[in-house]
Assembly symmetry: C2
Homo-oligomer: 344 residues x 2
């Protein structure tokens, strides 16, 4: 008898995670929140611990041809800290495990760890463990971040309410445009190694790709202003995908205004140059590591003067679906990769 074989790509990443975690039964009273959000929450006698983990694989998540190892170490930490902040928690410790092929020298690993330590210092976290081993091919990084939060002050994705304002921090799309530029320059270099790349005017978008930051400042601002978001997550896969996560998990609909999506002037210019739609880059690009959150309308006055926070829409009843209102006045169905002009 032939064995059944289902291809993993048929499920997609989230389908795969759903599938693999479908039978989990929580056994410890201290496990407050398990799989399914940016991070897990553990209650250790009054204080709550938050854990998040990510794996980065050479050739899949990064290309060492244009990624300095120091930036890679920094980014590997920051993307995990971003998950902790997205829980409304404060990161306190990390573990870093790496596997590397024999083409890496000690100097190369040292450069990587310089980036790790730079991120630890900037965000005030301790590296408390890890593992190093060989790989047959390439460089593999696994980071686990641990944080703490005042009991029950953590913020999930599933608790937005109808009428809540939808907000996002910073600007979007630049990391994707930075990647597009780096990939283009790589291609040119491989075809004509004598052509020198001219990236000087593009430090903003390249920096957003190679050395992202986590929004510690926003979590501090929200605490200072006594705002507890009703739901929150970080923008790692692209705005539309993340908005749909919050809507779906909160059992709500959503309206997004295209003209409210924050996009930097540098990003608009380079998008034009590449013939790309800046809005599409923001919706589908990913790796921005900004915070997407919902909050009560009553809190609007507290954030209106903060230029780092944009209100981009609001949550509706689930029967109204998830839509984007474009600059041109059209209403399209929001889908994970942007919008769908065929299903209004």
């Amino acid at each position: 008898m032939e064995q059944e074989r289902t291809e993993i790509q048929d499920l997609g990443e989230f389908g795969l995670i759903d599938y693999l975690t479908r039978n989990i039964e929580i056994q410890n009273a201290s496990t407050v929140l398990g799989v399914g959000d940016d991070a897990a929450v553990i209650d250790h006698f009054g204080k709550q611990t938050v854990i998040s983990t990510d794996m980065l694989v050479e050739g899949i998540h990064f290309d060492l041809m244009y990624t300095p190892l120091k930036h890679l170490g920094y980014k590997a930490v920051v993307v995990n800290l971003s998950d902790i902040y997205a829980m409304n928690a404060t990161p306190t410790q990390i573990t870093v495990s790496i596997a590397f092929s024999n083409r890496f020298s000690l100097e190369a690993l040292n450069e990587f760890y310089e980036g790790v330590y730079a991120a630890c210092e900037k965000y005030g976290v301790d590296l408390i463990g890890g593992d190093t081993s060989n790989s047959q091919k390439g460089f593999i990084i696994s980071v686990t971040a641990i944080g703490e939060v005042t009991p029950d002050q953590f913020v999930k994705r599933s608790t937005a309410e109808k009428g809540d304002l939808l907000c996002v921090t910073g600007d979007l799309g630049a990391a994707y445009l930075g990647l597009t530029l780096l990939e283009r320059e790589k291609k040119i270099y491989l075809e004509s190694p004598e052509v020198k790349p001219d990236l000087e005017d593009q430090t903003y978008i390249i920096g957003r790709q190679l050395k992202p930051e986590a929004r510690k400042d926003i979590i501090e601002f929200l605490q200072q202003e006594d705002i507890k978001p009703t739901s929150m997550m970080d923008v790692s896969d692209g705005l539309s995908s993340e908005i749909l996560h919050i809507a779906k998990q909160s059992n709500l609909g959503v309206v997004l205004y295209e003209d409210k999506i924050p996009i930097a002037q540098e990003s608009k210019e380079i998008a034009m140059k590449f013939g790309l739609d800046p809005t599409a880059c923001a919706l589908s690009g990913g790796e921005d590591y900004e915070l997407l959150f919902t909050m009560k309308q009553a809190d609007y006055d507290k954030i209106v003067l903060n230029e780092q926070i944009s209100v981009i829409g609001y949550m509706t009843d689930i029967t109204e679906g998830a839509h984007i209102l474009t600059k041109g006045g059209n209403k399209y169905k929001l889908v994970a990769q942007g919008w769908n002009a065929f299903q209004q």
Copy 2:
């Protein structure tokens, strides 16, 4: 100018870790113990959290030709739990991240997770997070285990004292012999695929390699008997390497009696068949996941009837060095890969 290049193998694994962690400065008061032991310890307002992490890489740590994926999932969890028990702590949660090439089907991943969940159930821990991604080649697993311990009841490697008894649990060398047997059968199969492997008589040593267990029972026994080991670690790299860790980190010497090292009858028989010295397998084999600990002589009466605990030596002043007294009455210097007959 040429860049400096130091080869990683010149340092060895522990030298590499020492090098990469040499500049760590602890920033959070809650970080009780960082890099350098089986796991880190975090103090979260009275209760202490213990974290440990390991990365397993196909072709380096395991061979899927003879490792069933379910056993691999089980083992990946157990080796991390073993580190938590080695801190005298109780594991409570794990995260599991995997990267896999496109040769893996959903059924294959499911089999792996069946093993993960079987270990979770057996040891009473919750899977609370993780990450899945593609790899360019092979299967990569990163597990982080979290545990808890009554404040300051965790046991380090560095706190053994002169005169303490050196103890080890279970028996040693079997996992290495299981690996040797599996590697031999693989070689025969690759040369003559028509020859059927006959492993039926060897279930003990193969089980010790493919499906090890962590010594939860011992930690419970020690607590029940009110014994706090003076130092402890798990045996993952081989007995002699681990004994030297405890001696070095505790700034002591040690005497090990060859005839006290526990080795199963099955292991002795297969070692003979392979022309291997059973003691050498125990000293250098590794992957036993037994507990190695030191305790006060006054606690001896409490453990003497426990057949799972063997007293194998005692700690001495550092000036006396680290030695093994062989069955033949000779005294040799203990080295990480067994003993050295040239340096007495």
